[in-house]
C-alpha cells in the first residue's frame, strides 16, 4: 500500500512538472514584455503599466 501511494505521488509530481513546462512554453505576456524579455527586439524596457 505504501509503495502504491509513493508511486501515485511520483506520478503526481511528474504531472505537475509537465503542466508547468507546458505553461512555460506558452507564456501569456504583453507585447512589450515579449519584445524586451523574450524576443529581445527592443533594448529598453518600457513598463507598459503592468
Amino acid at each position: 500500500m505504501k509503495k502504491f501511494l509513493l508511486y501515485l505521488v511520483c506520478a503526481g509530481l511528474v504531472a505537475f512538472f509537465a503542466i508547468t513546462l507546458y505553461l512555460g512554453k506558452n507564456p501569456k505576456v504583453s507585447d512589450e514584455y515579449r519584445a524586451f524579455y523574450i524576443d529581445h527586439t527592443v533594448k529598453k524596457w518600457k513598463n507598459p503599466g503592468h
Binding site: 505537475f16 512538472f17 505576456v29 524586451f36 529598453k44
Partner: protein, 388 residues
C-alpha cells in the same frame, strides 16, 4: 570530538571572524573617510534587490534596463520575512538578511565539519596547522567563514542559505537518507536555480549505494532498481519541486514561468558561445581586468574539481563542475562568488592543504586563503568590481 565541543569551536571561529569583519570595516571607514554607516557599507550590490523583495515582495520594474526582482529566487527572502515576522516587524530587511545569513553560516559550518569527518577526509591530519581550533576538520569552518569571496556568506545574499542546504544535502546523501537529500535539494532549487542540478550528485550517491549493496555497477540494473524502489524515485523527483513551484508562481504573477531566465537579459546581453566562448573571451581580455581574474579563477576551480574527482570526492567534484558550467553559459560575471558558494570548493581546498607534505606549505597556503578572505571583505566595503 563531541558535538558540543564542535559547536563551541565553531562559535569561537565565528566570533573571531566577525571581529575581523568589524576590524576591516573600521579600517576601511578611517582610510576612505566613509561615514555612511554599517548598513550602507555592508548592504552592497544585490542587497538592494533582496531587501526590496523582503519589504515589498515581487513586483514589476520601472527601470529602463529591465532589472526586475523576480530574477532572485524566493526562499532566502521568505526566510528573512519569517525573521521579520518574529521580530514583530521591528527589524529592517537588512538586519533580517544578516541574521538569516549568519545563522545559516554557523549551522552550515557545523554540518560541513561533520560531513568531512563522515567522508573520512579528516584522517591523517598532521602538522602545526591542524591543532587547536583548526583540528579534526575544523579548518573547513575557518575556510567557510574567512575564505576568499565568503564575505557573501555573511551578507544579505542567498549564498549562506544555499551553502547550508548544499551541506545538508551532501550530509544526507552520505548517510543514504535519500528522501531527506531530495528535500534539501528541492529547497536549494528554491534558493538558486542551479540547485536543481543537485539531481546529478543525488543519482551518483544512489549509484554508489547500489554498487555497495549489490556488488555490481550495471547501469541498466541500477535504473531498474531506482524504478523498483519508489522511495528512491520519489527522492529524485523531489529535487526539481522548489524550482517548479517558483516557475508556477511566476506564471500566475507574470504570465511567464521562465521569467527568471528571460529577465537575465537585463543583466547580461553579450552573445558568446556558452562556456568556451565566455572563457576564451575573458581569459585574455585586457579591457576588463576583474573579468580576466574571474576567468582564471574559474580555470583554477576546474583543475581543483578534476583533482577532487581523482581523489574520490566524485559527487562533490561533479557538483562543483556543473554548478560552474551553468553560469558560464552566459557570462563570467559573479563566477568567483558562485565557486565559493558551491561549498565543495572548500572541501577541495581542505583536502589539498591536508595532502601537502610540507607543514610550511600548509601554513603558507592557509594564510594565503585568509589573506584573500580579508582582501575580499575590504573589496566588498570599497565596492571593487572583482567582488561582483
Amino acid at each position: 570530538m563531541s558535538n558540543k565541543k564542535l559547536i563551541a569551536n565553531i562559535l569561537i571561529i565565528f566570533l573571531i571572524t566577525r571581529g575581523i569583519f568589524a576590524a576591516v570595516y573600521f579600517i576601511y571607514c578611517a582610510v576612505c573617510n566613509d561615514n555612511s554607516g554599517f548598513e550602507a557599507v555592508f548592504g552592497r550590490w544585490d542587497t538592494e534587490h533582496y531587501s526590496d523583495i523582503i519589504e515589498n515582495g515581487y513586483h514589476y520594474t520601472n527601470k529602463s534596463n529591465g532589472q526586475a526582482n523576480w530574477a532572485f529566487f524566493p526562499l532566502f527572502p521568505l526566510a528573512c520575512r519569517g525573521v521579520r515576522m518574529i521580530s514583530g516587524g521591528n527589524l529592517s530587511p537588512f538586519w533580517c538578511g544578516i541574521i538569516v545569513s549568519n545563522v545559516c553560516l554557523v549551522i552550515a559550518a557545523f554540518f560541513a565539519v561533520k560531513l568531512i569527518r563522515d567522508r573520512g577526509i579528516v584522517k591523517g591530519e598532521r602538522g602545526v596547522l591542524f591543532t587547536g581550533l583548526s583540528k579534526n576538520g575544523s579548518l573547513l569552518a575557518w575556510f567557510l567563514m574567512l575564505g576568499p569571496f565568503t564575505v557573501y556568506f555573511s551578507a544579505v545574499y542567498t549564498e549562506s542559505l544555499f551553502v547550508l542546504l548544499l551541506v545538508l544535502f551532501f550530509y544526507a546523501a552520505q548517510k543514504e537518507l535519500f528522501p531527506l537529500a531530495g528535500m534539501f535539494a528541492a529547497l536549494a532549487g528554491a534558493t538558486r536555480s542551479v540547485g536543481v542540478l543537485l539531481i546529478i550528485p543525488l543519482i551518483m550517491a544512489m549509484y554508489s549505494s547500489y554498487r555497495k549493496e549489490k556488488g555490481s555497477g550495471n547501469i541498466f540494473c541500477f535504473v531498474g532498481n531506482v524504478f523498483a524502489r519508489p522511495a528512491r524515485l520519489f527522492s529524485l523527483l523531489l529535487v526539481p519541486v522548489g524550482l517548479f513551484c517558483y516557475m508556477l508562481y511566476l506564471y500566475f504573477f507574470l504570465g511567464d514561468a521562465f521569467g527568471f531566465i528571460h529577465v537575465q537579459v537585463a543583466w547580461r546581453n553579450e552573445d558568446f558561445l556558452p562556456v568556451i566562448g565566455v572563457l576564451k573571451h575573458y581569459l585574455f581580455s585586457t579591457g576588463e581586468i576583474h573579468y580576466t581574474i574571474s576567468a582564471w579563477i574559474c580555470i583554477a576551480a576546474f583543475v581543483l574539481y578534476v583533482w577532487m574527482f581523482v581523489k574520490g570526492l566524485r559527487r562533490e567534484a561533479v557538483w562543483g563542475i556543473i554548478s560552474l558550467l551553468l553560469p558560464l553559459t552566459s557570462h563570467i560575471m559573479s563566477t568567483p562568488r558562485f565557486i565559493s558558494g558551491s561549498f565543495v570548493v572548500w572541501m577541495g581546498m581542505y583536502l589539498l592543504i591536508k595532502s601537502m607534505k610540507s607543514h610550511g606549505a600548509q601554513v603558507f597556503f592557509t594564510i594565503l586563503l585568509y589573506a584573500g578572505g580579508v582582501i575580499t571583505i575590504a573589496m566588498w566595503y570599497a565596492q571593487a568590481h572583482l567582488i561582483m
